[in-house]
């Protein structure tokens, strides 16, 4: 299988393979080191990082649904300083050379820009993913991702302070994701990633209470895959920049579906909770699939869906 070329390129960043971690589902990798050889990942995308520490939302923060889960973590994180000292330092020491994409959160423009500025001198950062699509915070988050002008504004502001690869993560909770993707492309994004979670809710019929303390939360997992594949296909057909696809990827076959739809790389999220070895299992599966189908370069799959 060594003959299959799994490399892909995102915004000038070469990845050994297209499999990344979905932000917030893999922490900064350390928790998975017992299960996964982290150096085999295409890239690690960290949990969302904000300028100052965020406490996140009250519990319960999670509920299982049919083929999916709701979460309302609320971007709990210790802030960019602690992130730099603990997570980046650990990654640099333990998995040198692994591309690290920092997922950036903010309540306002200055918040996003501040995180990037705080990390610009860090050699261990390969690029940024702007989370303008988190449904679990009151200010910022999804509000930026559901409005073209706001999405463009935050993208442009971040673009102004970094030359590093800048990925913008889009919200699926919109009428027209293509317009948002085009707006951030025009504002300087090097790539888009999609989808973040769908806004959902579940109610416990015995207590009459919402299953999440925050009432609503983000739906992820296999349940959302058809929506995600559709959006990746729509966006990839409309923009020039690469698309990173995610939403319910559990197997290599799922990853291939996203690549055929137009994703240059993919991210694995909820699957990590079910099987902590999911990421490398999918890397292996991609190689096997290419081998079996006579595909020499995995990148040949990108956008290869036949809609004729």
């Amino acid at each position: 299988m060594s003959s299959v070329d799994l490399r892909v390129e995102i915004a000038g960043l070469e990845l050994a393979n297209p499999v990344m971690t979905a932000s917030g589902t893999f922490a900064s990798g350390r928790e998975f080191a017992d299960f996964v050889d982290l150096s085999r990942l295409g890239a690690i995308v960290t949990k969302g990082v904000s300028l100052v520490p965020w406490e996140g939302n009250p519990s319960p923060r999670m509920a299982e649904t049919a083929s999916g889960m709701l979460n309302s973590i609320g971007l709990q994180n210790p802030g960019v300083e602690a992130f730099r000292e603990r997570d980046l330092a650990w990654l640099a020491g333990s998995v040198p050379g692994l591309p690290v994409i920092v997922n950036v959160s903010g309540h306002d423009l200055a918040g996003y820009v501040g995180v990037i500025e705080a990390l610009e001198d860090e050699p261990g950062v390969s690029g940024y993913e702007l989370n303008i699509s988190c449904p679990n915070v009151d200010a910022g988050g999804m509000a930026f991702g559901t409005d073209c002008a706001a999405a463009a504004e935050v993208t442009a502001a971040c673009r102004a302070v970094t030359a590093r690869p800048l990925i913008v993560k889009l919200s699926p909770n919109v009428t027209d994701i293509v317009s948002v993707a085009r707006s951030v492309e025009a504002a300087g994004a090097d790539a888009v990633s999609l989808i973040n979670t769908l806004l959902g809710m579940a109610i416990d019929t015995s207590s009459f209470r919402p299953k999440l303390a925050r009432v609503v939360g983000g739906l992820s997992g296999p349940a959302i895959k058809p929506v995600a594949v559709r959006m990746v296909w729509q966006v990839a057909s409309a923009v020039e920049i690469p698309v990173i696809g995610m939403g319910g990827i559990m197997t290599a076959d799922d990853a291939i579906e996203f690549m055929l739809a137009g994703a240059t790389a993919v991210a694995v999220g909820t699957a990590n909770f079910v099987d902590p070895t999911s990421t490398v299992r999918i890397v292996d599966g991609l190689a096997e699939f290419c081998h079996a189908h006579g595909v020499g370069c995995v990148s040949d799959l990108v956008g290869a869906v036949d809609v004729s």
């Binding site: 017992d34 519990s59 509920a63 079910v274």
Partner: protein
């Protein structure tokens, strides 16, 4: 005296792993309560009292996520799990037959801390709270610590874990809602007088959160350190998703890796679990 929670616990040496396990037995103990015996050599040899395993009970729409269960006992190549049928996952667990295979992630979490030099421990179990206290009672007894177990249940036949506790504990003090065994009433009712005896140097408790909270207050009043084991909804079980947080004096912590056992004095109890609201 410290609860010793910062000590380098022995089980930290064994990292968790995925293990394919086989059902050896599945016994109904009472209405909706079962005992599952798994052939799980790796987990059995590495689990510490109070730790848990994250089980992939079945596959399918209702089973995307794993389910966490405390290890009740570990012996030889086997672990035992006490479970209560609540939803789809535990219902599927009740249907398992010898020979069925499952996939387990574990052992996980930080279990009970057993500081050097304790002489007499009080274990307070509410219902299925007996689950993580089984291994602990055996371990304590094995180390020569005197063990008293107070256990509460709705009625005699639901006093889960009784045989084990009666076997290893110096004293077993039951309390039942209907008075069918031991004192009539809640286990917190028998706990208070036990603590008043003044002989304990550590309290370990597990059960409904509101009960644990009362035991924590009672222990504090009696000036005995107390450890609680908290249940939270868990997605990953390994510290990555932040589903399972517990607010503590040391900040927001994860029940799956920093717990499920916490020193009671560090826990900032959830207002929803206040005894007043129950």
């Amino acid at each position: 005296m410290t609860t010793g929670h910062d000590c380098a616990c022995a089980h930290r040496a064994v990292p968790p792993a995925l293990e394919n396990v086989t059902v050896v037995a599945n016994e109904r103990l009472a209405e909706g309560v079962g005992l599952l015996v798994l052939d799980a050599p790796r987990a059995a040899s590495s689990v510490a009292p109070g730790q848990f395993v994250h089980l992939r009970v079945a596959r399918g729409a209702d089973f995307l996520l794993r389910r966490p269960f405390s290890v009740h006992r570990a012996h030889g190549e086997r672990i035992e799990i006490l479970y209560q049928v609540l939803g789809t996952g535990t219902r599927a667990l009740a249907d398992k037959a010898p020979g069925d295979r499952m996939d387990l992630l574990g052992p996980l979490g930080t279990g009970w801390s057993i500081p050097e030099g304790i002489a007499h421990a009080l274990l307070v179990a509410g219902g299925l709270g007996a689950a993580p206290l089984g291994m602990l009672a055996e371990e304590l007894a094995g180390r020569g610590v005197a063990v008293t177990v107070a256990a509460g249940a709705p009625c005699e036949e639901r006093l889960i874990g009784r045989e084990l506790f009666e076997r290893v504990a110096r004293r077993f003090v039951p309390a039942t809602d209907d008075g069918s065994c031991g004192a009539r009433g809640l286990v917190t009712g028998v706990c208070e007088p036990l603590l008043a005896e003044g002989s304990f140097d550590m309290v370990y408790t597990c059960g409904p959160e509101v009960m644990q909270r009362i035991v924590a207050v009672q222990s504090a009043s009696a000036d005995v350190p107390c450890q609680v084991s908290l249940e939270r909804l868990m997605a990953c079980g390994i510290g990555a998703c932040l589903s399972c947080v517990v607010r503590t004096t040391r900040g927001v912590r994860r029940a799956c890796v920093d717990g499920p056992v916490f020193p009671a004095e560090e826990v900032l109890w959830d207002p929803a679990e206040s005894p007043d609201t129950h």
